[in-house]
């Protein structure tokens, strides 16, 4: 029985349902110390001195460090891209000389328990000379330090003759658009628990996520240790969304403390810390200009934007700005394009990726532009998109652009087909009539859409090791990680079909550096594509090896043997001899006659999958909204996400990804924003100020998963499913709210708050 493509039950659920999960705070070691971070409370200041004397005298305190104590440790690095010159802007693990955002680590206290550490942290005194806070990335750059300005880099890409299209254009449109600062905000805050096993000189870090191998290599380098003496472990991860599992100052601090203090050290972030210290995302201002012909066909796009990176360059470098530049154009044919992305620092929490990074932003910008073109040219909003689509016949479609260091080649897709399917499923025409009727009765209602291309399956390579033990249980060791999205189930399904076993007999080992030498982790919707393909190849290789061995053991021709539910049987003799694959594994154990000729004993294999290009899923979001004229509340009355994922390994989990991703997109569209006052004080430091959607904000949500365009780039045809639910929510909600306001292009910023809605309602009624 094939399980790929079936909504089988998740393997992850039982311990999570029983309260037996191993999240970071659940991990403890004997004699552990607790770390508390003392953070800057001023957005920008010279750090004159830090007095730790009182904290050191507090009960239970073992050590207190400031920037001087860790001056030998280099700043947190970033994953390299082509952009140069970012190094001076990296964050030291404890501030030295200057603080640049509220929440920046300035000192750390180590004490016998977490409460005592927190008590003592309150006694650390800082002397600061406040400086003006820079809070607008579109304003002229300021000084990062005495020699560097706050613009580390400018991202430039483009092709075609933008200038010449302007002269011949029917119209040239210009929009000024802004996406607010928000982020992943997983329910589990960060945590890090380090211990040093002096007996074997091994440094362990627990509570990790996402990028264990890269983080391991960097921790080893920064601490001057061989990588093989440092190991990272992943337990359960309470949501990742891009922000969790990056290398942060706290990860280095617990490792250093475990080495120096000779005891395990545990740090668990509190929620206020999380909201000011864990990566923010999204904040960008775009000035976009398009030249269009009389039929609404795009001749060129010029995209100038200001990316608010916050106070430091973090592990992603300029990747979000890079993707905002390289992936803006989505499903449309654009003959000429020029982008200038100002990657700038401000005195806010540093930023990096959050689910659909650069695409949530870009889809909002691009789809606002498409609505504006439709309005200006007097063409229907659907029709203008159809006229500009890259067609199925043009696939694979090469854009003379790159993103994440790979050339943008749209691998497969039929955008027009999916738009048709989505409109039919949503009942667009009938809803248009309903909207017209209700408007005539005085209601402010509207429909909106967003069409987008996602990206997934970032290479370059991923490997897995698959082994069968004597009980017939399959162990799959992967360098991928899980952030709670169902990686184990999806990989087990793929392994089960390739090898011929029950997926429940596959144990997936992930997120730990001590079991596999290389890994690329879980991000960028890459695991099902990359690790899934490697798993598929490993399963096929292991099946072949098992069948060859069984042919000898059963004295049967290889061609008549197959593996079903973990048992080798003869397809020509239904009642013939059978052999459980555990027995095959036993026959290949070291010392057994059949193992002698083998390079490696055991029923085991390692397989790798390589890919130079990303796979591009695509989708359509459709929304119906109503505005409350009294309160400015936006009610989403109906919402559809249509998403082509090439092939869905587990449709239930794909829909789960889309629904959850949608809720996060809805937050960014209507509710969530990290706001600051004029001195750079963060105003959203609790979950009562930073508004994550609850179940009461969820509209009726319809999900249409299609498999019309399998990826030609991998043996399964899969594309990543993790980010399409989020991608165009801002775009579609903005389009619908704007439609409810008369389609005048008034909606230019996210989130669309009640206050904004009231202002815009006032404008149209004035």
């Amino acid at each position: 029985m094939n399980v790929v493509g079936k909504s089988v039950a998740r393997l992850e659920d039982p311990p999570l349902l029983r309260g037996q999960g191993a999240f970071a705070a659940d991990i403890s070691f004997p004699r552990q110390l607790h770390m508390r971070v003392v953070r800057a409370e001023v957005a920008h200041a010279l750090l004159v001195s830090v007095d730790v004397a009182a904290a050191l005298d507090a009960p239970g305190v073992v050590a207190v460090w400031t920037g001087e104590d860790v001056a030998a440790i280099p700043p947190i690095p970033f994953r390299a891209t082509k952009l140069k010159g970012l190094e001076p802007y990296c964050q030291p693990i404890l501030a030295r000389g200057r603080v640049r955002y509220v929440g920046e680590p300035v000192a750390v206290v180590f004490a016998e328990d977490a409460a005592l550490a927190e008590d003592a942290a309150d006694l650390v005194m800082m002397e600061l000379e406040e400086l003006p806070a820079l809070l607008d990335a579109a304003a002229p750059p300021g000084n990062f330090d005495t020699t560097h300005a706050t613009e580390p880099a400018v991202v430039r890409k483009g092709y075609g003759a933008v200038e010449t299209t302007l002269a011949g254009a029917h119209v040239v449109l210009e929009l000024d658009l802004y996406i607010g600062r928000h982020s992943g905000v997983p329910l589990e805050t960060r945590g890090a628990i380090a211990r040093h096993d002096a007996a074997t000189d091994t440094l362990e870090l627990h509570g990790t996520a996402k990028k264990q191998h890269w983080n391991r290599d960097e921790i080893a380098r920064l601490l001057g240790r061989p990588p093989s003496s440092v190991h990272l472990f992943e337990g359960h991860v309470g949501g990742g969304f891009g922000v969790r599992g990056e290398l942060y100052p706290e990860d280095l601090l617990v490792c250093l403390a475990a080495l120096r203090l000779g005891r395990p050290v545990k740090w668990i972030e509190d929620r206020r810390e999380h909201l000011i210290a864990t990566n923010h995302s999204r904040e960008q201002r775009h000035r976009i200009r398009a030249a269009v012909d009389a039929e609404g066909r795009i001749l060129s796009i010029e995209n100038t934007f200001f990316h608010d990176q916050g106070a430091y360059v973090r592990t992603h470098g300029a990747r979000v700005a890079d993707m905002s530049a390289g992936l803006l154009l989505g499903p449309y044919r654009v003959p000429a394009y020029r982008v200038t992305g100002h990657f700038r620092l401000t005195n806010k929490t540093p930023a990096a990726t959050y689910r659909a990074p650069g695409r949530f932003e870009g889809s909002f910008v691009r789809e606002r532009l498409m609505d504006a073109i439709a309005a200006r040219c007097g063409i229907d909003r659907i029709e203008v998109r159809r006229r500009n689509f890259v067609t199925a016949a043009e696939m694979p479609y090469t854009r003379p652009l790159d993103a994440l260091g790979t050339d943008v080649v749209l691998d497969s897709g039929d955008y027009a087909l999916l738009l048709d399917k989505a409109l039919a499923r949503f009942g667009w025409t009938a809803r248009q009539e309903e909207v017209a009727r209700r408007r005539a009765a005085g209601e402010a209602v509207g429909l909106g859409l967003g069409v987008f291309v996602e990206k997934s399956g970032l290479g370059p390579s991923d490997g897995v090791r698959m082994s069968v033990d004597a009980s017939g249980t399959v162990e799959l060791v992967t360098g991928a990680a899980s952030v709670g999205q169902g990686v184990e189930t999806a990989l087990a399904q793929i392994a089960a079909d390739a090898l011929g076993v029950d997926y429940r007999r596959v144990r997936v080992v992930r997120g730990r550096t001590d079991r596999i030498e290389f890994g690329s982790g879980a991000h960028a919707s890459r695991v099902t594509v990359m690790s899934g393909s490697a798993t598929h190849l490993a399963g096929l290789a292991l099946r072949e090896r098992a069948l060859e061995t069984a042919a000898t053991l059963l004295q049967a021709p290889r061609e008549v043997l197959r593996i079903e539910q973990g048992v080798v049987r003869r397809s020509d003799l239904p009642d013939g001899p059978t052999l459980p694959i555990g027995e095959v594994a036993r026959a290949l154990a070291p010392g057994m006659p059949l193992a002698r000729g083998q390079a490696t004993p055991g029923l085991t294999t390692e397989s790798w999958f390589h890919s130079d290009h990303m796979a591009y899923p695509y989708g359509v979001h459709l929304a119906q909204v109503a505005l409350d004229r009294g309160t400015g509340k936006v009610s989403v009355e109906h919402y559809l996400v249509a998403y082509d994922v090439g092939r869905a390994v587990n449709p239930m989990m794909v829909e789960g990804q889309i629904a959850g991703g949608f809720a996060q997109g809805l937050g960014g569209a209507l509710y969530e924003e990290f706001r600051y006052d004029e001195r750079g004080q963060p105003l959203c430091t609790t979950l009562a100020d930073y508004l994550i959607p609850t179940i009461a904000e969820m509209p009726p949500l319809d999900i249409l998963v299609t498999e019309d365009a399998p990826s030609p780039l991998n043996p399964l045809g899969v594309k990543g499913a993790g980010e399409g639910g989020t991608n165009a929510v801002g775009a579609a909600i903005a389009s619908a709210v704007d439609d409810a306001l008369g389609g005048r292009g008034l909606v230019t910023r996210l989130p669309i708050t009640p206050r904004e809605v009231l202002r815009m309602l006032g404008e149209i009624e004035a």
């Binding site: 039950a9 998740r10 992850e12 659920d13 039982p14 999570l16 349902l17 029983r18 309260g19 037996q20 999960g21 999240f23 705070a25 659940d26 730790v52 009960p59 239970g60 305190v61 073992v62 050590a63 207190v64 460090w65 104590d69 016998e112 328990d113 409460a115 005592l116 992943g184 997983p186 329910l187 589990e188 805050t189 359960h236 991860v237 309470g238 949501g239 990742g240 969304f241 120096r260 203090l261 509190d270 929620r271 709670g484 999205q485 239930m652 989990m653 789960g656 629904a659 959850g660 949608f662 809720a663 996060q664 609790t686 979950l687 009562a688 609850t694 179940i695 009461a696 969820m698 639910g725």
Partner: protein
Amino acid sequence: MTETLHTETLHAETLHQVALTVNGRPVRLQVPARRTLAEALREELGLTGTHLGCEHGVCGSCTVLMDGAPVRGCLVLAVQAEGCAIRTVEGLAPHGAALHPLQQAFADHHAVQCGYCTPGFLMLALAILEEDPDMTEAEMVERLSSNLCRCTGYVGILRAVRAAAASWPRTRPA
């Protein structure tokens, strides 16, 4: 680098005796006054299924039942639980036994992704269903809106609670 070389008295704080039951078993705790119920369950009793997501009473990940009512484990001090019957996620299905019907419904309807909010939602849903399995969906949504989930968009959670309500025993077990 500055380090103290001596070990201070660890518990300078006064400890209070608290007697309560947890998942039906009598328990005696010795805790400082400032220790929350959620911390005491996790640190003193090893019941780490009760998760802390915000420690300021918004997210509901630490929801446990206190004499049958759902409470935020982060906003109740352990000393306030004196004489109370506390139920946590670990009490839903004894170790090794089949899942509780509510847990099974969460699995069947894909109400779990990362699982961090799950224990809180299970205990909240349990309180709702024990109070009134026939409540309207609007009322159910209103009640469930007191907890946050960041992964699922609540679609599976609502389906699971509805399904569990449909087969919930209408006569209360003694």
